[in-house]
């Protein structure tokens, strides 16, 4: 196979809210173009990780090259790029979109436009995309395609009159989508004779091939055997393989302008490849890199500790391995008085944090304790120094602090009118500052400035619960603002538990302290003695609960026939005790740490 004529290439992404049918539509397009046999077909073919399939999310960008014989008789190469959809990966999404000329905007015909969709459409428009609106699930009784078309026009300002009506599930209308891609999206531009300029879209580690780099060729030609240079990091690598995904990996001798494919070479770690970097020919480099490159910045931090201290080395190895495949999270060793040795890890957001935690426990079979998620605070000291605080445990003595600033974000929330009141209250409670409120039909669109500190806590869970799951939410970080922040400690049986300490706004301290104590009261099992659980700021107790002493816990009957069963119960109990942490005389189960920080007050 050789490079295709540029005018017959179409590069596109699919933008959709979770559950609006992105993966199903992608599956149908792949099937219609005959890229996989029926035997090879499984649902969500592009989501290769178990976590992606189960949660219906995409973490890594994937591409698939399809050959489509259009109604005009010509055969086109369609490159579908499947992007992550979550706000945590906003930058990755942006770079994926930058690799395409157009997008399909898939909207559930009964649900309408959601906040996440909005954010991604704006990103697509920023990347000068031609956008084809696609209304999915039009065959369902609850579908209101006309209303949703109107909404697309009102909210996004896109002409939806020629939206494609489909049911990705049954396949209805899907051929029209293919035809719209060919006729309505532009072919890529690009100069074959110019020096190589390729966008690094994503990368991952493959056990057989090493680091696989997903690229979009903008100008020039990428050839097997050439030496390329990353213009951002400055590193040079020899290219071993060049090719495309169909979705199977297929080798090509070269990739020309407008094409999407991969390269492998002498690249050791994913960390050596930065999403958004420009790849050029080392011997004939491009004059200028592509615009828009920036390094990934973790915004949420938490400590990860092994439940069994003996697993520390295993955790170190596992984190190292994950990092091979995900350069966007950072880690450094941390010691906690309560939890022993572990790592302070930085993540792109809460979902990213959850994914990493889940992958560590699932792929490496590790039991972990995660401490309260924290953001980066900027602290001005009396001596004029300014420090970044990643861990509440490291907070300097308050008398040495002149100011603490915290990151703020701007959030867009779309919600049915019915839930607006509760959502406004939630935002207000979380120190939000309203920026805008407008209506689109019977849906309200609210814009709020919120401290990230309040959002990492449990904002998303609360939002889902007060809106019964109907509100959608998206945000981007804006700036640092000074605030009246204090360190809150949790004392169990009089001993401070450093892993549970956190920085909170003074106005929130009582509420959070109370909520935390109430939660811990239920999470810490009864002991043979009474246990006070307290929240404190400095030396002042702001909340207190008491775990009553265990009064009765004994089997009534235990004879010769019961011993085996009871012994197995005891073994389980012993196993459970290993999963607990001893704080003074109190044992706190691992679940308590995780659950204590997921509040539903």
């Amino acid at each position: 196979m050789t490079a295709s004529p540029q005018e017959n290439i179409r590069n596109f992404a699919i933008i959709a809210h979770i559950d609006h049918g992105k993966s199903t539509l992608a599956d149908r397009l792949i099937q219609l173009c005959g890229a996989v046999t029926d035997r090879e077909m499984k649902d969500q073919i592009l989501d290769s990780m178990d976590i992606e399939r189960e949660r219906g999310i995409t973490i890594k960008a994937q591409t698939v090259r399809l050959n489509y014989k259009a109604r005009d008789g010509k055969t086109y190469v369609l490159n579908l790029i499947d992007t992550p959809g979550h706000v945590d990966f906003a930058y990755e999404v942006n770079r994926s979109l930058a690799a395409c000329e157009g997008s399909l905007l898939v909207v559930d015909a009964s649900q309408g436009v959601e906040a996440q969709t909005l954010a991604n459409v704006y990103q697509a428009l920023d990347n000068n995309h031609e956008i084809v609106p696609v209304l999915n699930k039009v065959d369902l009784p609850a579908a209101e395609p006309e209303k949703v078309k109107q909404q697309i026009e009102d909210v996004i300002g896109l002409d939806a009159s020629n939206a494609v009506m489909i049911s990705a599930k049954t396949g209805l209308g899907v051929p029209d989508v293919l035809e719209a891609i060919v006729t309505r999206l532009p072919p890529p531009k690009g100069d074959r004779a110019a020096p190589l300029k390729a966008l690094l879209v994503d990368s991952w580690y493959d056990a057989y091939l090493g680091v696989v780099v997903l690229v979009r060729i903008v100008d020039g030609v990428l050839k097997k055997g050439m030496r390329v240079r990353m213009m951002g990091t400055g590193a040079a690598h020899d290219v071993d393989k060049v090719g495309v995904f169909t979705p199977k990996l297929v080798d090509f001798p070269e990739l020309g302008p407008g094409e999407l494919g991969f390269l492998t070479g002498s690249i050791k770690e994913v960390a050596d490849t930065r999403v958004g970097d420009t790849i050029t020919d080392d011997r004939k480099p491009a004059a200028e890199p592509l615009p828009g490159f920036r390094a990934a910045q973790p915004v949420v931090f938490c400590g990860l500790f092994p439940v069994d201290a003996a697993d520390f080395e295993e955790l170190r190895a596992a984190i190292g391995k994950l990092r091979l495949n995900d350069a966007s999270f950072t880690y450094e060793m941390e010691t906690s008085a309560a939890l022993g040795f572990g790592f302070r890890c930085g993540f792109l957001g809460l979902l990213h944090l959850e994914i990493i935690q889940e992958r560590l426990s699932r792929e490496f079979d590790l039991d972990l304790i995660a401490t309260a998620p924290s953001v980066i605070y900027r602290i001005k000291l009396t001596n004029g120094e300014e420090i970044e605080l990643h861990n509440p445990a490291d907070m300097p003595d308050p008398v040495k602090i002149t100011e603490i600033a915290e990151p703020w974000l701007r959030a867009t929330i779309l919600t049915p009118d019915d839930y607006l009141g509760s959502i406004l209250k939630l935002c207000q409670d979380r120190r939000g500052v309203q920026v805008d409120l407008s209506y689109v039909g019977n849906r309200a669109m609210v814009t709020y400035d919120l401290p990230l500190n309040e959002v990492v806590f449990d904002f998303y869970d609360r939002l889902k619960s007060v809106s019964k799951g109907y509100a959608s939410f998206d945000y981007h970080l804006t700036e640092y603002r000074a605030g009246d922040l204090v360190k809150m400690q949790i004392l169990v049986n009089g001993d401070p538990v450093d892993a549970l300490s956190m920085l909170v706004h003074r106005s929130q301290a009582d509420r959070r302290g109370r909520a935390m104590c109430e939660k811990l009261k239920d999470l810490i099992p009864q002991h043979m003695f009474q246990i006070p659980v307290q929240a404190a700021i400095g030396g002042r107790i702001i909340a207190r609960e008491t775990i009553r002493a265990l009064r009765k816990d004994v089997l009534a009957k235990c004879y010769g026939g019961d011993v085996t069963r009871k012994r197995k119960l005891l073994e389980k109990q012993k196993e459970g005790k290993k999963r607990m942490r001893q704080f003074g005389k109190v044992e706190i189960p691992q679940e308590a740490f995780i659950a204590a920080l997921k509040m539903d007050d």
Binding site: H527, M528, F529, L550, R551, K552, D553, V554, L555, A556, K557, C558, Y559, G560, G561, V563, T564, K566, R567, L570, E571, Q573, K574, K577, K585
Partner: protein
Amino acid sequence: MSGTDPGFAVYLHWPFCAAKCPYCDFNSHVRHQPVDQARFAEAFATEIAMTADRTGRRDVASIFLGGGTPSLMEPATVGKVLDAVARHWNVAPNAEITMEANPSSVEAERFRGYRAAGVNRVSLGVQALDDRELKFLGRLHNVEEAYRAIEIARATFPRLSFDLIYARPGQTPEAWAAELRQALSRAADHLSLYQLTVEEGTPFANLYAAGKLKVPDPDAAADLYAVTQEICDAAGMPAYEVSNHARPGAECRHNLVYWRYGEYAGIGPGAHGRLRLHDGRHATSTERLPEAWLARVEARGEGLIVDDILSQEEEGDEMLLMGLRLAEGIDVARYQALSGRALDPAQVADLVAHGMVERTLAGHVRATRAGFFVLDAVVADLAA
């Protein structure tokens, strides 16, 4: 109670009942055709012979006929089975030979036959002294019959115990105190007093899950347990085990073998055993389903389906689990020899400080009265 050699006991399981009680999770089966008792007796004898081949000729301190409902056995069946035990092991003349029995009038008529067959102690499943409560518990007898059975048993057997189940739904400490005093007035020198436990897989468990059965919460259960101890102490029948009360010297020797973690052979369907053989302590159990057990024994001489050698840690756990249920506690030196580990002194000190256990001059660690209330937590602490 004296001596720390727990001895060797034989447990025989008769797996049939006239009806299944809704709280019971024992291996019991209701058969609507008459059971071929002669054939079962023969199979018991076969399994006894086979087990004795493994253990060698041991001195038997106790034999216990449990169930199910062993009082559904013909006296002749009991005789055949006891004879088989005596043929293969040495049964001392003063050995304790206990049988569980239901206090119905039909069964009471067979008591003399059992006595003649060698039974010298009977344990009656009285369970409650209130007709409505007996119905709720699914029992087939009434209070009148129970009293009558107690009288006959007292006249027939040298030793007698009976069981009561308390902490029943809605039972107040006052009501239970009255019932317990009534029981004490009828008791000989041993009583087993169990708090109602909702066991998995029983009809009560289903009711409980459906919210139709409410058992006392831990606070109420603790109050009821406290009342029980108070009344029994005053009556001279203190708890020598969590749920068992006796006048000093009248403890059930058979159960002491379990709690002191001695050896016992388990004979019959679904019976468990602990046997110390040349290669370690074996945990054994047999096929549970009576007919399948019978077929197995007839085909291969024994009904064993589990025969595991316990690790030191497992032995240690079992000894703790059983031994701390006794007021006398466990012999620390023996625990150490058995488990290959010492009790953590800091852990013991901590439990002593909380008033849950105490050390004795004889080198035992034992649960205090307060420790009995939360014994499972105490054991978990010591085993961890």
